[in-house]
């Protein structure tokens, strides 16, 4: 399959352009910082709260809060990485004409695009997994705490990255690199704000606000996936805290996860179609 030639080429490009190494090196710094910070805070908190009633509960609250905060950063990093790595992969090759020497070879246009998508989604998936698993492991080693459900949330973070990646790949088939970047980040911003409107709406029992949130989640289901990931990981005590970046007054349903998967397939299908029709 020529598709794998393109996939390997894309991964090699990420290596050669040092993108992979910088991302991994800074990922290590991030995990180390998290581990150091969590270790210090956890130790302080342990001496402070040992005597108080319900100290055990507070332990758990702090731990979960810190872990969720770490995963929230990874969620953000996954989105950034998804856009920044892939935003110019199609439009850039078209404007620099390197695409011409690929598209005149005996392979189909969709193989070029799908080959790139596979490469980026695998790199993004592996990167997100490594970072998230590292955080879960760090927390487990330092505090002994492990969330009831951590595999599901990590899967949702990966899915979120793929959603944004697919938007950026689709945009690249008909937009310039810069316009595509603006599109991807603005959509993310809209979904983000929509998520907050939904959370506050739910707290204030405003159906209209919740519906706005759901609508923006349909436009881009990234924030909804994060909310669900966050919800799944938290024990009931944190779920009941008032609105914060990790709170989930209105929980996206499993249907939203299914929708996100469908969303990826549909957008990718459109991208393949647009790319196979356009002049290069």
């Amino acid at each position: 399959m020529k598709l794998w030639v393109i996939t390997r080429l894309t991964v090699r490009e990420a290596q050669r352009r040092k993108l992979l190494w910088i991302a991994l090196a800074l990922g290590v710094v991030f995990v180390a910082l998290f581990a150091g910070g969590f270790h210090l805070i956890y130790r302080e908190f342990a001496t402070f709260s040992q005597s108080t009633v319900g100290g055990q509960v507070q332990y758990q609250v702090v731990t979960v809060f810190f872990l969720t905060a770490g995963l929230y950063v990874i969620n953000f990093l996954a989105v950034m990485m998804a856009v920044l790595t892939s935003v110019g992969t199609v439009s850039g090759e078209i404007s620099s004409h390197t695409i011409q020497s690929l598209a005149t070879k005996p392979l189909r246009r969709w193989e070029i695009l799908l080959g790139k998508w596979v490469a980026y989604s695998v790199m993004l998936g592996v990167y997100t997994s490594i970072l998230s698993l590292s955080l879960v492991l760090v927390v487990r080693l330092i505090s002994g705490y492990i969330p009831n459900n951590w595999l599901g949330p990590i899967g949702l973070l990966i899915l979120e990255g793929w959603v944004i990646l697919t938007v950026s790949i689709l945009g690249g088939t008909f937009l310039s690199t810069i316009a595509n970047g603006v599109l991807a980040f603005m959509l993310y911003g809209i979904a983000f704000i929509g998520g907050w409107v939904e959370q506050f709406g739910s707290l204030m029992a405003s159906d209209a606000a919740v519906n706005i949130g759901i609508l923006t989640s349909l436009v881009l289901p990234s924030e909804a996936l994060w909310r669900r990931a966050s919800y799944l990981m938290q024990p009931a005590i944190i779920r009941n805290l008032p609105a914060n970046p990790f709170s989930t007054a209105s929980v996206p349903s499993p249907a939203m996860v299914l929708y996100a998967a469908f969303y990826i397939v549909a957008l990718l299908g459109i991208a393949l179609w647009v790319f196979s029709q356009r002049d290069l």
């Binding site: 080429l9 004409h97 390197t98 011409q100 020497s101 005149t104 005996p106 392979l107 002049d279 290069l280």
Partner: protein, 304 residues
């Protein structure tokens, strides 16, 4: 299938919005021909090549390459292409670049191992095999692009301005490669505005202007095309000049010396006879060998 022409287009047209890039392109390139596609910048040469290679979809008309409709995926393993903008993935080393394109052409590992060193040698880049393309000069990039186009031992090679970035030695190298391709029976479609190159290498040329082929000519018989003639006569009368305009509407009168262009060489005896019959005294009638450049200016340069 082998008797079908290499390239056959019928009324090919391409519009980008309101702009017509190629208006009406009908041409046939036979097997083994070295075909020059000439025209000023913006005449539609590159758009025509893009349509032939399946990079751009024609607005109307049809085209076949090697007996198959353009854009057919499998046929592309028999087509080599050096793009005009020879921009490649510059973070690759030269040998990696060749290997990548060999894989894309569907060559086996064995074939790649045989052909890549031979082609690097052909374009004199053997020593640069381990260097990254980002460190290559424009000429080196063009040469590696040419080598890449030859990987599948193609039946037809499209070269879009293949010598634009090259020094005289590089040009000679490309010329030699084209000669080798010709002798091995490969069809070459050469897009160029470097007329001296075309003159040396091509069997036949087509001139394109405003997206239409205005003329095709076989290069060894260029004189059969528009022929410029210099006349020396004893006296120039208005009646004589009027009569002469029936032979050519481009007259340049300079005393007793008149320069005109006739349709073809075959009309020269008739012209001589007519001048003699006018009784103006014919001192000389000298047909000028037209160089490709002059032909180009005549055919294409008209009202520019």
């Amino acid at each position: 299938m082998s008797d079908s022409p290499t390239i056959e287009t019928h009324r090919l047209r391409k519009e980008y919005g309101d702009k017509v890039a190629v208006a009406d392109l009908t041409l046939t390139v036979q097997r083994g021909e070295v075909f020059g596609f000439l025209g000023p910048n913006g005449a539609g040469k590159t758009t025509a090549v893009k349509m032939l290679l399946g990079l751009a979809v024609p607005t109307s008309g049809s085209a076949q390459i090697l007996g198959r409709p353009v854009g057919d995926t499998q046929t592309r393993s028999r087509i080599g292409f050096l793009p005009e903008h020879f921009r490649f993935h510059e973070w690759l080393q030269a040998a990696e670049f060749m290997d990548l394109h060999g894989q894309l052409f569907g060559l086996t590992l064995q074939q790649r191992r045989e052909r890549i060193p031979a082609l690097l040698e052909l374009v004199k880049l053997t020593e640069a095999a381990d260097r990254r393309l980002s460190a290559f000069s424009k000429g080196m990039l063009q040469r590696i692009g040419l080598a890449q186009a030859l990987l599948p031992e193609p039946e037809v090679v499209f070269l879009d301005e293949p010598t634009s970035g090259l020094d005289p030695l590089g040009r000679r190298l490309v010329r030699d490669v084209i000669r080798k391709l010709r002798s091995s029976g490969t069809t070459v479609f050469l897009n160029s505005h470097l007329l001296s190159e075309v003159e040396i290498t091509c069997d036949r040329v087509a001139f394109i202007k405003d997206g239409t082929i205005v003329r095709t000519a076989t290069l060894d018989r260029l004189v059969e095309g528009l022929t410029e003639v210099i006349l020396w006569v004893g006296q120039v009368t208005p009646e004589f000049l009027d009569g002469l305009r029936r032979w050519s509407n481009e007259l340049q009168v300079d005393g007793r010396r008149i320069t005109l262009t006739v349709q073809d060489e075959a009309s020269l005896p008739g012209l001589a006879q007519w001048v003699v019959e006018q009784g103006v005294g014919l001192y000389a009638l000298t047909p000028q060998q037209l160089s490709l450049e002059e032909l180009f200016v005549q055919v294409v340069g008209g009202e520019q």
